[in-house]
């Protein structure tokens, strides 16, 4: 259960940005969590609701965009279907993950004096 440590990292990151802008509080965070990021979103949301207490993010909402995994051939770019061997049907080269492993803070909204 590493979602608490991720929520703590997110809090530190958000507070750094808030302090840079001399914000009085953080209102909202937008994050992207890829399907293969290894993070359970409901657990992260629970962890966030706990770690944000008594901080600049005390009532900051967390909006999560989920990014499905998408694979393509690492050589010719042909899309590679999920659920089968991760190899290109056309040229046989190994697939590469195009998107779906993100764990990213995308946007922060904060209140400034």
């Amino acid at each position: 259960m590493h979602e608490y440590s991720i929520a703590a990292s997110l809090l530190r990151q958000a507070e750094e940005h808030a302090q840079k802008h001399a914000a009085s509080r953080v209102v909202r965070l937008e994050i992207c969590v890829g399907e293969l990021a290894g993070v359970e979103v409901p657990l992260l949301e629970t962890a966030w609701s706990l770690v944000r207490e008594r901080s600049l993010c005390g009532d900051a909402s967390l909006a999560v965009r989920r990014q499905p995994a998408r694979w393509e051939c690492g050589r010719c770019g042909e899309p590679v279907a999920r659920g089968l061997a991760l190899r290109c049907e056309r040229c046989g080269a190994p697939a590469r993950l195009v998107e779906g492993d993100e764990l990213v803070l995308e946007r922060i909204e904060m209140e400034v004096a």
Binding site: H2, Q13, L103, R107, E109
Partner: protein, 261 residues
């Protein structure tokens, strides 16, 4: 106060960030990586379930290749047992006690490196906390991720833990001496499951008890990038091929099913 009309409403600033949430961990991992590179060490992040045989694999490595200079840190929630076993085997090792934490992060490894010995080391193993979930997402500064998977864990673990196995550069299938006792586990089924989550499914079969496959594992440690997984021998291209009938995985399987006789 609102800076448009001065009405007293709060002024909300919205800023695009696009920064990895684990960027601070990544920064420290980069520092660790520079440390390993400067000292010429190959750093391996060894992961796997509790009881997968991570410590036994290192003990067998030491027995098979005493001239290979190994050192290790072992992540453990509560005991010093694994590091103690490694020290008894002749591998300089220390414990990183994680308490309730289920994984190592770059900062824990960084602190441990401050207490590492001065002796020259060829392979520095970070033996992670036994867990197939959490350790996968933390960069520690390693060069390669190795996942130990024991035959008694069943053939579908790669499909159940895709994040971990996607992160693996190499899977070491351990306890292959037990294959005769787990008839539903076929190394080729595991290899097929790996191929669905790992674009280049590289797997070695090892028994720390009989020593089978340990020589191939040691060859991989000596030259991971140049290892030819088709023949399980060092090769300049290192490209994955089909299973080789002479590989330890195959010989074990054939012997188990009687088809090798």
């Amino acid at each position: 106060m609102c800076d448009v009309c001065g009405c007293g409403d709060p002024n909300i600033v919205s800023e695009e960030i696009h920064e990895r949430i684990l960027s601070e961990n990544d920064r420290i991992a980069g520092h660790n990586r520079e440390h390993f590179a400067r000292l010429g060490m190959l750093a391996i992040n060894l992961m796997g379930s509790p009881g997968a045989g991570k410590t036994a694999l290192l003990e067998a490595t030491r027995r098979a290749a005493p001239e290979l200079r190994l050192a290790a840190v072992s992540g453990d929630l509560a005991t010093d047992n694994d590091a103690e076993r490694l020290r008894r085997a002749g591998i300089p090792a220390q414990t990183i006690t994680t308490g309730t934490a289920c994984h190592l992060d770059a900062s824990l490894v960084h602190h441990a490196l401050h207490h590492a010995g001065e002796e020259p080391v060829d392979v520095f193993v970070i033996e992670n906390v036994g867990n197939l979930v959490c350790p996968a997402i933390y960069d520690l500064g390693q060069r390669f991720n190795v996942v130990a998977l024991s035959v008694t864990e069943g053939p579908d673990k790669p499909l159940k833990y895709p994040v971990m196995f996607r992160a693996a550069d190499l899977v070491v299938l351990t306890k292959t001496d037990l294959l005769p006792h787990v008839p539903d586990v076929d190394p080729e089924r595991i290899r097929a499951a790996l191929a669905r989550v790992m674009p280049e499914p590289r797997m070695l079969c090892v028994s720390a008890t009989t020593g089978e496959g340990v020589a191939e594992w040691v060859r991989w440690l000596r030259n991971p990038s140049g290892f030819d997984h088709a023949t399980e021998r060092p090769s300049p291209d290192g490209w994955l091929g089909q299973a080789d009938p002479s590989s330890p995985c195959e010989t074990t399987r054939l012997a188990t099913t009687g088809r090798g006789e």
